[in-house]
């Protein structure tokens, strides 16, 4: 992903600048509004047919498109990248509908059962491969996959690619070859800055993702999707999938619903009942 070129990305108009390439990582996840479940093997059931683009990745796509649109330069490119089974192609299709220029789907049975590090290995290999065609300036991800929810991916990617990782941007600026993010943490608000190339993740507060129109949806249907295997990426299958997993799910079972639920109508003593319940349960 590394490059020797100055500056890879610049804000504002004018000047003859080198084109910018942004890779945006998008994950296909089971719809969180539906029934989600884990299989015997502890893996998320992904063949329910009601999968969608992880909605937090719409913010990532929007951020990438907005950066490119603000430059209004010929030749800039946003590449949507997903790793996952057949259905995962829907995630990159959605990104194409939103306006991504290209789509890459890493599809290989050997990836099944990957943990966070194993998935990051594949994404990193794919970014490196794209970087061989033409330099990649920025990788943008969502803040979390709404199924795995580890939020490990952006930092793992930065480490594996050997570039700066700046996760959780609620505000993102790219100017003169540097990226600056503002982020809200549990106890503090920070501003981080790094030279490109870099990896950033954006939060759902960063922007309002656009809604593709009918025309874009139709056009995306016909757009090509590049499908790559681990072999194409030159990645040793032992580094990913169940074989490379450093963590192993031993057991997965649904939690029983809460027992003895009580629903009462407030008839003037609702607050008193709440207080009495707390006393009864030893919660005060």
């Amino acid at each position: 992903m590394s490059r020797a070129r100055t500056p890879p990305v610049a804000g504002g108009a004018g000047g003859s600048l080198a084109p910018v390439r942004i890779v945006v990582c998008v994950k296909h996840v089971p719809d969180i509004q539906g029934e989600r479940s884990l299989g015997e093997d502890g893996r998320v059931v992904r063949d329910g047919g009601d999968g969608t683009l992880n909605e937090l990745d719409e913010n990532a796509v929007e951020a990438a498109l907005a950066l490119v649109e603000a430059r209004a330069q010929e030749g800039d490119e946003v590449v949507a990248l997903t790793v996952g089974p057949d259905d995962a192609v829907e995630a990159v299709r959605r990104a194409l509908q939103m306006g991504a220029h290209r789509a890459v789907h890493v599809l290989d049975d050997a990836v099944a059962g990957a943990d966070a590090v194993g998935t990051a290995q594949v994404l990193a290999a794919a970014v490196r491969r794209l970087g061989e065609e033409a330099p990649v300036d920025l990788v943008v991800t969502g803040m979390a996959g709404l199924d795995g929810l580890t939020s490990l991916l952006p930092t793992l990617l930065g480490e594996l690619l050997g570039v700066a990782a700046l996760p959780l941007a609620s505000h993102l600026e790219v100017e003169g070859g540097t990226v600056t993010v503002r982020r809200d943490l549990d106890h503090a608000t920070e501003t981080l800055r790094a030279a490109l190339p870099a990896v950033v993740s954006v939060t759902d507060a960063a922007n309002d993702p656009r809604y593709p129109g009918f025309k874009q949806i139709m056009a995306a249907r016909k757009a090509p999707v590049t499908v790559l295997s681990l072999d194409d990426l030159g990645l040793d299958p032992a580094l990913t999938g169940a074989a490379g997993a450093r963590t192993q799910v031993l057991l997965a079972r649904p939690r029983p619903p809460r027992q003895d639920r009580v629903l009462v109508q407030d008839t003037g003593d609702g607050g008193a009942r709440l207080a009495a319940f707390l006393v009864e349960r030893g919660l005060v």
């Binding site: 884990l38 590090v117 943490l185 920070e190 799910v249 009580v262 003593d269 207080a275 319940f277």
Partner: protein, 337 residues
């Protein structure tokens, strides 16, 4: 019997040098995984005056911490995850030479997950995030984890020699060690590597804490949603009577009724307090994802069909502006009476 091992614990603390609550829970969990080995605290100093004081050392000693490694950084800001990860990786390598290092434990927060990710790449460790249980089974670190918005329970083993685990607050009750220790403080200066130097912390503004407990680790959290219409006084009053923290839904934070850091849910803070009370909160799936693992759930909502009632141990169909103040008054009267 598992062999004794070293377990490193990242000791989160406030800028004023006080322990953050999960530190005690982490040390308790660490003792079990160390199997009579050594629990080593790691204190990343954010400025030259930031050091574990006598009270902190006594507290860590009561928890059985053998040594505290006080980390300072040269060449990069110690408050960045790359420096924290570098310090942990260097300590791991060095301590491992003395005695096998089995685990690095961190409190679950976005910052610590970044350090965990870096550590995984640098040490080859497997990572489990948001664990709510930790055990040693035949020498293997096994974690418990509640997933898919609190609807599934999993157990997950770490197959690598080193496990990196971020542990949720309120999951493992803190308990003192059988034998207290007097932790020695060892100074360690980290010379920032290229990765650590690649990111510049331009500024960091700590938020003041309102005097209430920390949201992520509070035992009691009272949450206000759109139903408050921006008036959080009833929510705050009940939280204060219960000694709890105040949280909010995304609608409330987006409206600017309360700070963004109060947002509970999949894209905000994940909490699992002993007691969650939601007022004027509908219970959208995004919100539930961040609170469904709570101990007891109470909901006050004037719509009997609000989805939050499906997961509430006690649901009160009523107006939060009358129910909450009445509950607060009752509890106050009980205390005084």
């Amino acid at each position: 019997m598992s062999t004794p091992a070293t377990v490193l614990v990242l000791v989160d603390h406030t800028p004023a040098g006080a322990l953050r609550a999960p530190a005690e829970e982490l040390c308790t969990a660490a003792r079990a995984v160390a199997a009579a080995g050594s629990v080593e605290g790691v204190w990343v100093a954010t400025d030259p005056d930031d050091r574990p004081g006598d009270a902190v050392l006594a507290a860590l000693g009561a928890l059985g911490v053998a040594r505290v490694h006080r980390v300072t950084a040269v060449g990069a800001d110690p408050r960045t995850s790359a420096v924290v990860a570098q310090a942990l990786a260097e300590l791991h390598a060095e301590l491992h030479a003395e005695r096998p290092a089995r685990a690095v434990l961190l409190a679950s927060s976005f910052e610590n997950k970044e350090a965990a990710a870096r550590l995984a790449v640098r040490t080859g460790a497997g990572v489990v995030t948001d664990a709510d249980d930790l055990a040693l089974e035949d020498g293997t670190v096994v974690t418990g984890k509640t997933v898919l918005a609190g609807t599934w329970t999993t157990r997950c083993a770490v197959r690598t020699p080193l496990a990196v685990v971020t542990l949720k607050a309120n999951a493992v009750p803190a308990a003192p060690a059988d034998v207290a220790t007097e932790p020695e403080v060892l100074e360690r200066a980290v010379e920032a590597d290229a990765t650590a130097r690649a990111v510049t912390l331009v500024d960091r503004v700590e938020r003041d804490t309102s005097g209430r407990p920390d949201l992520a680790s509070a035992h009691v959290v009272v949450v206000g949603g759109r139903g408050t219409e921006g008036d959080f006084s009833a929510v705050e009053e009940l939280a204060d009577v219960l000694g709890g923290a105040v949280g909010a839904t995304r609608v409330a934070t987006d409206e600017g009724w309360i700070g963004h850091d109060a947002q509970i849910g999949q894209t905000g803070v994940t909490i699992s307090p002993r007691l969650y009370i939601g007022a004027g909160v509908s219970g959208a799936v995004h919100h539930r994802g961040g609170m469904q693992a709570s101990g007891t759930v109470i909901a006050v909502n004037n719509d009997p069909d609000a989805p939050i009632f499906e997961i509430a141990d006690l649901g009160i169909v009523g107006d939060l502006f009358t129910v909450l103040p009445q509950a607060a008054a009752e509890l106050r009267a009980r205390r005084e009476g």
